[in-house]
Amino acid sequence: MRFAAAVVVSAVVLAGCAPVQSGSAPSGGDERSGQLRVWLFDEVNRGPKEAVVKEAVTAFEQAHQGVTVDVQYIQVQTRAERFKAAFSDPRSAPDVAEFGNTDLAGYVAGGGFAELDLGGWGEAEDLLPAVLDTGKVDGKVYGVPWYVGVRALYYRTDVFQELNLRPPATLDEIAPLARRIRAAKPDLLGISAGGKYTYGAMPFVWANGGDIAREEGGKYVSAIDSAESKAGLRQYTELIADDICPPAQCAGNGGDASVEAFRAGKAAMVVGGDFNRKSVDASAAAGKYAVVPLPGKEAGEIAPAFAGGNLLGVMRGSERKTLANEFLRLLGGKEYQRRMFDAMGNLPTFGDVQAEVARANPVLEPFIATLEAGTRFVPVTPNWAKIDAQAVLPTLLQQVAAGGEDLDKAAAAAADQMNAAFAS
């Protein structure tokens, strides 16, 4: 009896209270001196990046007396928690930050980044429009693309030469080709296709005419269970089979692990990024590989690639708005994008700089061609972060490839989960 009374009392007490919130949005300020805080992503081999950034910092500090720039390198794995904490506590937040373009919509909804005004910045005209789009939410720019990353098909030239093969000209040719290679060389994977490698699988879906989601009256609706999407999914998941890439080895692999298998010399093909080039050059597959764009359905077509990349943005609560914007324009501008390419191999996002870099580095040709053929992106909504965190697409791929589930059922379930997230 007393227990019941306690429950009632607690219910009443609770009903009158509300969870804590971080308070009204910060307005920030416009100080012209002091410390400017910058967060950039940490890399496994950070040296080259740090060197370039130091140059930018020195140049900036010299041009602005009384201003110091403090750069912190944050780990990619824990970036989500750090950014969310920064949004909830503006005092801990930086002024300028590097972040992934797929995280953009969620961060904007979380009240983190300020809208950028690119007017008056001459260089902005040369930003590739498709790439700049990945920095926009509802038509407003919240991040300047710092580099773009696309994927193409890496293959082993020595293996192909030995077996008298040519790189696939259409998407349909990939599976038979991979089977032949593995049949002739049983210790090689025909193609290293990971079960968690969403960005390697999506081009198959897109090339078949499908998509992750489509917009309907301002809201997103999942399209992963359409006939075209399923055709693409079928084409990708049939690669994760014992005669090409056995599930026991491949079903748990994401992008990194898939490329790792190629680097170790254990795979004949892999869908890899331009950002993987340097590390493949330093691996067992060095000198024995070439890259072609991932082909589309018909000969001569290129499968649409995912336009990955990182953006630079200014935080909404920054106390040094003008300085932050100026530093962003410096670090994200043509000069330093060029230097970042030299240091890290990061593909610049300005049309002219990219063309210049492509001319000087013919190895980039397949990646540039892929970019120019048209890239795709994820649904631009804060709910995408939910779908990403809940691993809906990787689970779908794994269920079919390794769990032996029926593709129609799995796709329907995935679509349901996505629609629930879109609606929330």
Partner: protein
């Protein structure tokens, strides 16, 4: 009359309170308040937009709980968690108890060797321990596969093998607590009792089960409850060793499921409701266990 309690004198209440105050302050402030917030959060639609984006709060009442309990995935993960925790607890208790009895039958040097190894396992941080085991059982580079001649076999692909591997790791780093606690308990048993058992003709195993274990009952209760609480909440080992829940999430346990579906996805209201449900479940299990013990005549 409880012999450990002093005859109460005047002003004792105040002294007791003074002793309790510091701990109480820390606990109420840093645990009581957040737990209260936790229950509150579970009643609202609370995401990152509400936390830092200035979006308004919507009261859902039991909405999050309804969503949770109507999700078939939740129930299958719950079942897996209970099964997994049961295996871990049973394994930890068995290994710990058996080794504790063993430790009483050997000379000091052997006991020290055993204890030092156990302490090493206990001291290893969960992340480091999980990674070491992952490497030892790696399909291509792992030592275990080389010794067994099964190079190329993946220990984390098959659902049950993956669970088995993680359970082994959890038992490896949990048994030392049971070992040391029970060993100390056995050491405290008066020598005459053990001698009497031996004179009666009980062998090692017989003594262990019929004499030692019953005397250790209170200790076993404490150790079992702690193990249940810890093993039900396992996160790191599953997360690291099955890459976040295994192929298509078939190796998920409740805490990892909560992280993936709720916390990483910024669905904090849902996450809070999972937290409340987990606490309630553990409470039920513990109360059930204690009641069963009381019925069998044991006092706490």
């Amino acid at each position: 009359m409880d012999k450990s309690v002093l005859r109460t004198a005047k002003g004792d209440g105040r002294i007791a309170f003074a002793y309790l105050a510091p701990a109480l302050l820390v606990l109420v402030g840093l645990m009581g308040y957040p737990i209260y917030q936790l229950v509150l959060i579970s009643l609202f639609d609370y995401g990152q937009e509400q936390v830092s984006g200035g979006a308004p709060l919507t009261f859902l009442g039991a909405g999050n709980y309804a969503t949770l309990l109507s999700d078939a995935r939740f129930w299958s993960v719950l079942g897996q968690t209970v099964g997994f925790a049961a295996v871990c607890v049973a394994g930890t208790l068995l290994v710990g108890a058996a080794l504790a009895v063993l430790a009483t039958r050997v000379r000091t040097w052997a006991r020290m060797v055993l204890f030092l190894a156990a302490l090493g396992a206990w001291a290893t941080p969960a992340v480091a321990g999980s990674t070491i085991w992952l490497f030892l059982f790696d399909a291509n580079l792992g030592f275990v596969n080389e010794v067994l001649g099964t190079t190329g076999l993946s220990w984390t692909y098959d659902k049950w093998m993956a669970f088995g591997l993680v359970a082994a790791q959890v038992i490896w780093c949990s048994f030392p607590f049971v070992l040391v606690t029970l060993y100390a308990g056995i050491k405290a048993i008066p020598g005459e009792v053990l001698e009497a058992a031996e004179l009666d003709g009980a062998g090692a195993v017989g003594t262990a089960t019929k004499v030692i274990l019953p005397l250790l009952r209170p200790l076993l209760v404490v150790v079992t409850i702690q193990s249940i609480i810890w093993d039900f909440k396992v996160f790191t080992q599953i997360y690291v060793m099955t890459s976040g829940g295994g192929i298509a999430g078939r190796n998920l346990v409740l805490n990892v499921y909560a992280y993936q579906q709720a916390f990483a996805a910024s669905e904090y209201g849902l996450g809070a409701s999972i937290g409340v449900v987990m606490t309630a479940l553990l409470l039920l299990v513990t109360l059930g266990y204690l009641r069963a013990l009381r019925r069998s005549g044991e006092a706490l």
